[in-house]
Symmetry: C2
Subunit: 190 residues, 2 copies
C-alpha cells in the first residue's frame, strides 16, 4: 500500500512539474535559466543565420537550437497560439568541421551563449520579453525598446515568435489560421 501511494505521488509530482508555469524570476525580476531546458521540446536549428545586410556570412558560423517548455508546445499544437507563461530558449553553439569521422559539413560544439524569450502578460506591458544569459544562470529582461522586441514584433510569423523557421509549427499555424497579418503580407505564405 505504501508503494502504491509512492507511485501515485511520483505520478502526481511529474504531472505538476509538467503543467507548472515555466518562468521563474528572482526577487529583483531576473529570469532564472531553466536547468532542464535540454529536455524541453526542440523546435529547430539554424546554422550561420544572419538578419543584417547580406554578405555578412561568417567563416565560423554558429548553430542556434530553439527549445520550448513542453506544455506550451502541446497547447500550440492544439490552438496555434502560445499560452501565457511560454518560455523559449535559444542556445547558440560553435560549429565544428571535420570532427571525428565527419569529412564535410558541420556538427555542434560548445555553447557560446543562451538567450530566452518569455510571454508573460501580467509582468510585461508588451507581453513578451527577451533575456541574454551568456554563460550565466539569471538575466534581466532587455528593455521594451530593445532591438529584440522590435524585430520579433515586426517580423515574427505567429505572435512574437519566428514560427517561419520551425517547420512543424508552421504547418500547425497555417491549419489554425494564426499567422500574423504582417507576416502574411510580407511573405508568399498565403
Amino acid at each position: 500500500m505504501k508503494k502504491t501511494l509512492l507511485v501515485i505521488l511520483v505520478g502526481l509530482s511529474m504531472r505538476a512539474q509538467q503543467s507548472a508555469p515555466a518562468p521563474v524570476y528572482t526577487a529583483a525580476g531576473e529570469l532564472l535559466l531553466p536547468k532542464n531546458y535540454r529536455e524541453w521540446v526542440y523546435l529547430s536549428s539554424g546554422l550561420g543565420m544572419t538578419y543584417g545586410a547580406a554578405g555578412n556570412e561568417s567563416p565560423d558560423p554558429r548553430f542556434d537550437n530553439v527549445f520550448v517548455n513542453p506544455s506550451s508546445y502541446r497547447a500550440f499544437l492544439e490552438t496555434g497560439h502560445w499560452p501565457d507563461k511560454s518560455v523559449f530558449i535559444l542556445e547558440i553553439r560553435q560549429s565544428v568541421s571535420k570532427g571525428s569521422i565527419n569529412k564535410g559539413g558541420r556538427s555542434q560544439g560548445d555553447v557560446v551563449s543562451v538567450e530566452a524569450a518569455v510571454k508573460d502578460e501580467s509582468r510585461f506591458p508588451q507581453k513578451w520579453a527577451y533575456f541574454g544569459f551568456g554563460h550565466g544562470e539569471k538575466a534581466a529582461p532587455a528593455p521594451a525598446t530593445s532591438s529584440c522586441n522590435a524585430c520579433h514584433h515586426q517580423n515574427a510569423a505567429v505572435e512574437n515568435t519566428f514560427v517561419q523557421f520551425y517547420p512543424v509549427l508552421l504547418d500547425v499555424a497555417r491549419q489554425k489560421g494564426t499567422l500574423n497579418a504582417g507576416y502574411l503580407s510580407a511573405s508568399k505564405d498565403h
Copy 2:
C-alpha cells in the same frame, strides 16, 4: 473524489507512458515510427555531414536532427550507458537559405527521410539494428551486415552511438568513463 481519482490515473498513465519500453514492432518484425518523436529529447544537429571521401560537400546540404526516447536519455545522464530498448530517431531535413528575414546561413525545411537506431538485445544478435523509414511509418531492420551496422560498430564513441557529435552526452561519457576503447585510441579524446 472522482476528480481526485481521475487526476491520479492521469498521473499514473503519464508515468507508465514515459517509462514504457520504446520500440514497437509489427508482427512481421517491422519497427513502427514513434509518432511523437519530436517530443523526445533532442541530442544534436549537423548540417551537410558526410563520411565518405573528402570534397563531397553538397551545394544543397541537409540538416540531420537526432532524438532519443526520454527515459533512455535520463538513464544515460546517470550511467553513461544506453539501456536496452533505447530508440534513436535521425530526422533528415532540407536546408533553406534566405528564408523570411534570414539573409545568410541556413534554416530547416521539409523532411527528406527518417531513420532509426534501436538497442534491443533480445531481438537482435548484434544488439543494435538500423531502420530506414523514408516517408513511411514502418521499416524492416537493415541486415546485420549492412554498412550502418559496420560504421556504427567501428566508429561510434559510446556503444554503437555517435556520442562524439552530441556535446551534452560526450561530457557525460567522459565523466562516467564509458567512451569506447576504439574511439579513444582513434581520437585525441583522452
